[in-house]
């Protein structure tokens, strides 16, 4: 292989010196573009544009089924709609500007006997293409922000509180139980049997439920208030189908409010894929096994969901008695420290 490259290089060098000599002899000047170069390259430009745009359209159609998997949340359907409007707007601009760019290169190729039009400015034209994008962008900003405000503000507080907790390299989920309140937790309380560092002295922790396997369930049609945090580095909880993403930051709670609209079972039908499962992925680089950090998410009908939840253990039941006492005494020192 090396030999081929070497030989190839030598051949190119020879050819270059020959062509250089030939062009010097024939009086053709320098390495400046000649008429032939201009026409060849400008034809190339137009071909590139036409074929490029055609391939783009073809690929967009071909990969349509994979792009934007069916949105399975209330806000997801709305943001998808918004995204498509945005795509339409930028698509139009994309086609017009690219076609003009490449077409002009072809149309106005160099001609010795012609002069370019001396046209240094036109204030009216410039005003138009400042104002029109401003108006279009304002419309996009307004629609985008309306959606954003809807997603981030003014939710009812009654959403079911679910904690999603990231650590290298897995996820855990905790449900707040009947009181819909998560018990306090503190990282110094973390142990093998208490992976979330829950403070058992907090009454709100008594009914908290933790998933026992690498799978979380969500009820369909029930608003959910996610609370995210992390044990070690920043993770990002990304649910592609729910169009939901929020970073999990150690030392701080982040929140996201959403409502799932399609059960896993229904989705299997929609995608015609018996093996379909929702998934929670980590989408912030978090270490060597970042790419493997995922959790299966199952969306159930509300009744199925409560049955499933009954089968999961309360966090407090999982703790051995000795550890429970230890935890409560540490927790009190900790809260003492914090109070100080």
């Amino acid at each position: 292989m090396m030999i081929t490259i070497l030989l190839g290089t030598l051949v190119v060098i020879r050819l270059m010196s020959v062509s250089q000599m030939a062009s010097v002899l024939s009086g053709e000047d320098e390495d400046v573009a000649q008429k032939r170069d201009n026409s060849m390259n400008s034809i190339g430009m137009v071909l590139f544009m036409v074929i490029g745009l055609a391939l783009m359209v073809y690929m967009t159609i071909k990969y349509q089924p994979f792009m934007l998997p069916v949105a399975a949340s209330v806000h997801g359907v709305e943001t998808d709609f918004l995204l498509n409007i945005n795509f339409a707007v930028i698509g139009i601009v994309f086609f017009i500007t690219q076609i003009m760019l490449f077409w002009f290169v072809y149309k106005y190729q160099h001609d010795k006997n012609r002069r370019a039009l001396f046209y240094p400015d036109n204030h009216k034209l410039e005003l138009i293409w400042t104002v029109v994008p401003t108006i279009v962008l304002s419309a996009l900003i307004v629609t985008g922000l309306r959606e954003w405000n809807k997603m981030t503000q003014g939710h009812p507080d009654d959403g079911m509180v679910v904690q999603v907790y990231g650590y290298q390299f897995n996820w855990m989920a905790r449900y707040s139980g009947p009181d819909n309140k998560l018990g306090r937790s503190y990282y110094k309380l973390i142990s093998d049997t208490n992976p979330l560092g829950i403070d058992y002295s907090d009454p709100a922790s008594k009914d908290d439920i933790m998933t026992k396997s690498n799978e979380m369930h969500l009820p369909k049609g029930v608003p959910i208030q996610f609370v995210f945090n992390s044990r070690d580095v920043i993770h990002s909880a990304y649910f592609p189908h729910f169009r939901t993403q929020m970073n999990c930051v150690p030392g701080m709670d982040t929140r996201f409010y959403m409502e799932a609209t399609i059960t896993t079972k229904e989705m299997k039908g929609i995608t015609k894929n018996e093996k379909f499962d929702y998934v929670l992925l980590c989408n912030k680089i978090c270490g060597v096994a970042h790419y493997n950090m995922k959790m299966t998410v199952v969306v159930d009908e509300p009744s199925e969901f409560s049955n499933w939840l009954k089968g999961e253990k309360k966090v407090i039941d999982a703790a051995p008695t000795a550890e429970l006492e230890q935890n409560i005494s540490t927790a009190s020192t900790v809260s003492h420290e914090v109070a100080l």
Partner: protein, 611 residues
């Protein structure tokens, strides 16, 4: 009249730095190899040093991308040559998943900082500012030399970090703590991360020394008649870029310094409530988000530090080769200034999903989308410049047009990502990778190629081979679109970036053929750059001798002799009488009128309002 002194001080610079009377290249008795090629204070030599270093670094970073593209396209294959190339990281021909992250990290760092900041600004600000404003050299040759050597040291440290036991930094080019602060979290956050930080601090010193020099030169050393509104757009771009760098890079030093404290002195600026390696750490009260705010205070202007010089070079190349004045000269300057200003108040759009207050998010959506307006103005101005032009398609011109095409494509997807509601789903997916590689990476590198092809005769006194230039352009533009356009599709499917393998979710398996396509294009693109490197180094020695003004350009650099002399012009510094874009002026004898030609010599083409 205030400019008259410049000629004088320009002479003074030349005198200080070089022995008088030894201007001629061939009779440099007093210049040793070391003072001429290594510790040179001549801006033209320094610019070449920057360029060659950047080319070497670019090949390194591109090689890295080819290795990880192999992994992404063929995750189940083994490549035995990897083991001989990268040793234990490619054991049995399989790329190590930790080293994959290291490759991604160092690829990004080198490309953004060493190639597109140091390589682009360092090369062309150095070459063109003195030559185009009509100065004998930079305001301070000494600082300029230091700027290059800090850059070289920074590049060396970054390169050296590849060879240490635990591997180089691997937390992504943004090195967010706590991942980058804790060696227990990832092996690369040990010595590798320390070296990364050292390298960055050296780099910032270089960028600041360079930037201060560029600003001082543009403000103080313009020749007689060179008012700010007669500066070529290149110089405007370099000036604004330098100001951006001076204002934003120090914040990155602050961010890095606090990270150093957290890493080695037990402080808690970025760390709080962490339980790792089965022990709780003592750090408490810090916020990892603080780092992100500080980082992106540089990080976003950095995008324009990369992009503006490329746009400046493209403006100059497009106007010259279209034989037509750049459309809306003042609007071009205005939009660069607006972009530069806005670049400081959009940093939050990198952080929509960090849990930042949603109201703050809305403010950043607003400011971010505002950037689209001056950007759109620039694009329309480029297109208007081409309208009814008389276009000479030199390789440089092709690359400049490619730049505009990328700027459109990548800029438009920015409108989507800047919209917080839409960003939630696309954040950190391949859609983002596609967006910034097109709008920032490819645009800027095309600007750099345009610059190299266009000003090579000015640098080396020889021409680059145009046929190889055309070949290089066509393969590159096809491959760049082939690599980055399909990434939009993968991103829309929800594939996260920085994944070693897309096996986590079975739905992603179906996308493997797109990944193969991308990798094939990436490898071809990589190989095609050898054509460029060959053309570049071959032409330095064997290229055709360049005429003084090969592109019939108006700007001052083409009035200097082909053979480099110290102080740039053997005689007095030329005076400037007009703006740089008098191309195809009606009734003029030729289709260009250099800036040095007074209006009194061109009565036939003068227009009302010209002077």
């Amino acid at each position: 009249m205030e400019v008259r002194d410049n000629t004088h001080s320009g002479h003074a610079v030349a005198h200080d730095v070089h022995d008088h009377g030894h201007d001629d290249h061939h009779h440099d008795h007093h210049q040793t190899f070391i003072t001429k090629y290594i510790f040179s204070t001549d801006h033209k030599m320094i610019s070449k040093q920057f360029l060659v270093t950047a080319i070497l670094m670019a090949f390194l970073a591109m090689g890295m991308s080819m290795i990880f593209r192999l992994q992404l396209a063929w995750p189940d294959e083994t490549f035995p040559f990897l083991e001989s190339m990268i040793g234990k990281w490619g054991k049995d021909g399989k790329l190590d998943s930790g080293f994959y992250l290291a490759l991604v990290t160092i690829h990004g760092t080198i490309m953004v900082f060493m190639v597109l900041t140091g390589g682009l600004s360092g090369t062309f600000s150095n070459l063109l500012i003195p030559l185009q404003v009509g100065a004998r050299d930079m305001a301070s040759g000494m600082l300029n030399m230091l700027s290059f050597w800090f850059f070289a040291a920074s590049s060396l440290v970054m390169f050296g970090s590849l060879f240490i036991e635990a591997g180089p930094a691997s937390g992504g080019w943004t090195v967010y703590p706590p991942l980058s602060a804790l060696p227990q979290a990832i092996p690369g956050s040990g010595l590798g991360m320390t070296l990364w930080l050292v390298s960055m601090v050296l780099f910032i010193v270089s960028a600041l020394l360079g930037g201060i020099n560029y600003v001082a030169t543009v403000i103080n050393l313009r020749t007689k008649g060179m008012s700010m509104t007669r500066l070529p757009l290149t110089v405007w771009a370099f000036l604004i870029t330098a100001i951006l760098g001076i204002l934003s890079f120090p914040v990155l030093v602050a961010a890095a310094l606090l990270l150093v404290f957290d890493r080695s002195m037990g402080t808690s600026f970025y760390l709080s409530d962490i339980f790792i390696g089965n022990v709780p750490l003592d750090h408490t009260g810090g916020s990892p988000i603080l780092y992100q705010h500080l980082f992106w205070f540089l990080g976003h202007p950095e995008v324009y530090i990369v992009l503006l010089p490329a746009l400046g070079l493209a403006s100059e190349v497009i106007s010259t080769m279209a034989r037509k004045p750049i459309f809306g000269y003042k609007a071009m300057i205005g939009s660069m200034l607006v972009i530069a200003f806005l670049s400081f108040i959009v940093l939050g759009h990198h952080m929509f999903v960090t849990g930042m207050n949603p109201f703050l998010g809305s403010v950043f959506v607003f400011t971010t989308l505002l950037v689209a307006i001056p950007s759109a103005v620039k694009v329309f101005n480029y297109i208007a410049t081409l309208w009814k032009a008389n276009i000479v398609l030199s390789p440089a011109m092709l690359f400049a047009i490619g730049l505009v095409s990328f700027f459109i494509t990548g800029g438009l997807t920015g409108i989507i990502l800047g919209d917080s509601a839409l960003d939630i789903n696309l954040h950190d997916t391949y859609f983002v990778v596609a967006h910034f590689h097109i709008v920032m990476g490819s645009s800027a590198i095309f600007g750099m190629f345009a610059g190299v092809y266009h000003w090579f005769p000015r640098m080396y006194g020889r021409m680059m081979n145009k046929s190889l230039g055309y070949l290089h352009f066509w393969i590159t533009i096809i491959c760049v679109y082939g690599v980055f356009f399909p990434m939009h599709f993968i991103g829309l499917a929800g594939v996260p970036r920085r994944y070693y393998a897309n096996t986590a979710y079975e739905g992603f398996d179906q996308l493997i053929n797109i990944n193969e396509l991308i990798s094939v294009f990436a490898i071809i693109a990589g190989v095609a750059q050898v054509i460029f490197a060959f053309n570049f180094f071959y032409s330095i020695y064997r290229g055709r001798k360049a005429p003084q003004n090969p592109w019939n350009s108006n700007t001052l650099e083409w009035t200097a002799p082909v053979e480099h002399v110290h102080g740039n012009w053997p005689g007095p510094i030329p005076e400037v009488h007009r703006w740089p874009y008098d191309y195809s002026k009606p009734n003029a004898k030729e289709d260009f009128i250099p800036q040095t030609v007074p209006y009194s010599q061109t009565p036939e083409s003068n227009r009302p309002g010209d002077f």
